[in-house]
Symmetry: C2
Subunit: 201 residues, 2 copies
């Protein structure tokens, strides 16, 4: 049984492959399948976006498909940047522009008001239906100046309090052990294992 | 903002209303909306069935809609009865027939082989999309003779080991405190609260 990983991000694909390597599934990348559609991520939740992408690509490829949607949620900003994380400062915003936009939005915010969560929702679909979605979260704080060079997105502003390091200061292996995506992938592995055992794939 | 509860089971509807009563949502029953479609629950997972039902009824009613799908999962039976819980002994099977069928299937099984989980997946959809799904589980053991008169379905065979009572021996209030549906509803409440705060409804 093959599993299509619906991400163009090679780092993400490697992380997913590593997490699922013990399952009896052949992992396939988007590059292996020609003419797949581009899916517009216009859902109102991470789960809606991940589900839409997984189902569209499962239908187009005829394969079991895994997709994720993830972003940063700041409760004091009414959940923003949320599903707009990648385009918070505008449709073609860079990571730096998004980070500056976030610092601007949080100007004058202190203490608990700077609490934030990285959220990742993974959806797995067959061509017929979305089989399940799984949510992983990682809680932290938005600091006032970027720190660190690793990772991407909001990582330089996201302080993981237990280690007093930003995600951009951690080695990739360490971030991949504790991150929102790691948590979602661990549960996704269990759920896929269960479905394989039940003969549903 | 109104929330349609997509269940014909009055006991379930009361349980859901009680769990969500502190939210700023007006809860509406299926009986209030004429001409809603019957949704065929032919999905391969609880999440697929709950999502299908929530989305179909959200589209038909134009309202935010909550649906659930639930059942009993026995790992030693490859996950059965699973999504077939209500019709395990046949398309129009009674609770008693399903229970007898389960005891038959588990004949000769002992100890851990009789482990089972009740699973409940709740889906919430807008007319545009499934906003999220939440899974709740409750672990127990299938005993060899039915015990108790409360509840429904497999409750008389499902022993909750922490209290050494079957679900059918517990008062409804107690079952509703610890059950798979209670767990899913508690998380659903949090998720709905978050979406309301974010202005997504």
């Amino acid at each position: 049984m093959q599993l299509l990983i619906a991400t163009k991000n090679l780092g993400k694909r490697r992380e997913i492959e590593a997490a699922l390597k013990d399952l009896p599934l052949d992992i396939v990348g988007l590059d292996a399948i020609p003419d797949l559609p581009d899916v517009v991520e216009d859902g109102r939740t991470f789960a809606a976006n991940a589900s839409k992408k997984a189902l569209a690509l499962a239908r187009a490829s005829g394969m079991l498909t895994l997709a994720d949607d993830s972003g940063l949620v700041v409760d004091a900003l009414g959940g923003e940047p949320g599903v707009h994380s990648a385009r918070y400062a505008g449709p073609r915003a860079t990571n730096d522009e998004n980070n500056r936009h976030l610092l601007e939005a949080l100007k004058g915010f202190t203490g608990k008001q700077r609490s934030a969560r990285f959220v990742c929702v993974i959806a797995v679909a067959s061509p017929a239906e979305v089989l399940f979605t799984i949510r992983g979260e990682c809680a932290g704080t938005i600091i006032e100046e970027p720190r660190g060079k690793n990772g991407f997105g909001y990582d330089p502003l996201f302080l993981y309090p237990l280690q007093n390091l930003t995600f951009a200061e951690m080695p990739a292996a360490e971030k991949n052990r504790i991150s929102h995506r790691a948590k979602a992938l661990a549960q996704t592995k269990n759920e896929l294992e269960r479905l394989v055992k039940m003969g549903l794939m």
